[in-house]
Amino acid sequence: MLFHDPIFVFAFLPISLGLYLLLSREAPLWAAMAALAIASLIFYGWWEPRYEFLLIGSIVVNYLFGRAITAAPRRKRLLTLAVAANLLALGVFKYAGFLAEIASSVTGSIIEIERPTLPLGISFFTFLQIAYLVDAYRGQTHDRSFGRYFLFVTFFPHLIAGPIVHHSELMPQFKRRISAIWEHLSVGSVIFVIGLFKKLVLAAQMGTWTDAFFGAAAGASPGFVESWLGALCFAFQIYFDFSAYSDMAVGLSRMFGIWLPVNFNSPYKATGIIEFWRRWHITLSRFLREYLYFPLGGNRKGRLRSYVNIMVVMLLAGLWHGAAWKFVLWGGIHGIYLLINHGWRELTSRKRFARLRFPAPVAVAVTFAATVVAWVPFRASDLAQSLAMLRGMCGLNGITLPAHYLATLGRAGETLAAAGVHFGVVPGYGGGVQLMWLTALLVFVWALPNTQELLAPYHPALGFEASGANGQWRRVLAWRPDPRLAAAIGLVAAFLSLRVLQGRPGEFIYFQF
């Protein structure tokens, strides 16, 4: 079940929410939480019921490991065993085929392993529980309730694609009975509608164009224009897709009176790659920092070692996104970006190089361009397509403009033609409408306040602190309980219900991880 499936929007959500709210008011707390857990299992099993057993088995085993680690004297060995068991499960389902592929190319013999269907959300619920085990080892798990642990892992708004919640963020909330129901419902539903809009309108349109550009690039030599347009379309598609999912998860959870951590905070406004990773998939960055980078030594063992650690973490982050070299390449590119960013930051922190610092708008533009380039291998179907697109973006495949532009541009067109610009077919190009969309989305991601900022007075997500940026915009657009605003949001929701019924906007990109 996807958050924008008709069955979810028109049946699952109203029924499960209604039941939960009713039980919260009229029954013991455990009954409401049990209803929520059952609803979460139905949500998970809707796609592939047999993986319910994997999910439940993983929860039971990890809970028992957690209890044993807390109690046992030789806990490190137990922790190693528990983490290894989790990674083994992840490896079998997600990486076995990839490892066989590597083994085949190394040994030269054909090793084939039947790739099982990837259980939905396995990367997320595995990481969630590894963090729990490590914290149990550190003596930081105090709540021993199995029921709350079960719900912490299965709680459906975050189960499939994050945020990667920390047990200390969620489990205490399950001890509280929901209050201020109307505020939760209104704030949650507004956030959900914003997410739905991003997914069904913005990401869907960008997805159509991305498919056209990347589809045309397969086996071809895409020119400068179509390569950049394709990469830009995907940069916006994944931005709005993931932003949409994060909003919907936070909004849905809030309707149930549960706060999730902020996971997405206008990453394209970042003035550097270091900052980008503090804004993009925030909870994954947090996990990698706390449970991988720090245990590797972080920056405590000298500069060189910290740079090695960064590369290791980013390569593994890439691999976490998928069992393919293209994701490793994407992680590697970001690792190199981070090293450059750290080096640059260190250089410009010296007094005599301080004047080299970019003004903020330039830094944002450079960071954005670097991110767009890095998205190419992430989206491309294989390494060859990535290289073709990247060559195109460097201008190595020439520059082609649509044939009819020669006449439209008049003398300028002739000058361009004389300078070597070719006028012909630009596969995927969608004309002025496409350019207007891209410009509008650039304004959206750079200038407008994000969902958390719009709802800042109502504490939309855990760990979000509104910055002073976008002050004026925020004053105009900020959400407040107001009948006119409610009517406007109602209209948008009604329109989106048409889109929901229309169906087939595609699953979330992050669902495949």
Binding site: D211, A212, G215, A216, A218, G219, A220, S221, P402, A403, H404, A407, T408, G424, V425, V426, P427, G428, Y429, G431, A494, F495, S497, L498, R499, L501, Q502, G503, R504
Partner: protein, 273 residues
Amino acid sequence: MVGMTEVMIRTTLLPTDHSQEMIERLHTSTVPYAAFGDSHVESAIAARQDLDNFGVASDNFDTVAARIHVRLSGQPLKGVILQADPELFSVYRTTADQSLRVEELQRRGRPPLLAIMRPAYRPYIVRYFWAMLRTPSLLFGRRAEAPPKESTSVSVSERDAQIRAQLQVPSAQFQDGATSREYSRLVSRLTAAGVAVCMVSFPLSGPYRRATADLPPFAAAYDWFAGEARRLGVRYLDLRALYADSLFHDPDHLAHDLAVPFTATVMKECFAR
């Protein structure tokens, strides 16, 4: 909004919708010849006593193939006119998800209670809604005043032709793609079933032919169709330059009033009928 769109579909579209009839005909027709393809076929072929026209605008090849399979599973067929135009290999067609259309073809029987949930309408709900906002009279079953354009020929501009060609350009290495493989497989299957296949490249306006003349993927596609027809031993008609420019409705669609004479030409050349 959902309710208004439902009403609009029921009052404006359903009364003139023949898609259910077409599906029924696909399953039950005894007419010996049939034409399949996209809007080129839909607008240029006129159904006759001995010929069904199963062409539907914007069908991609998956859907065309599904229609043929459904028809083939029914009463015997003598001959098939199969579109052989490069846009079948264009990215916008090959990446289009038409599974709802295919699902509807295979699921015979009562359509869903709500008209907006019918596969033929469901992918376009939002477009219908905008159309209704622009022309509120649609809610009461009135179409916009514009006459049916397809019956009139217009002067086709070079610019429009270039824009259309830009959209319809076949993807690079389409020869190795799933669509071309499926095309060849389908022709083989038809001939193996004793059905005479006639592959037809449909007429194009001069501006469109000029716009595509310098584009290698178009030439490669026509060469591929001709080569496959030779290899598979079926007839291939290249009718791109059959008509003067003044007889086109748009860059690549013949004016509708030419459908009858054009169909006669095709049936004669293909099947000597």
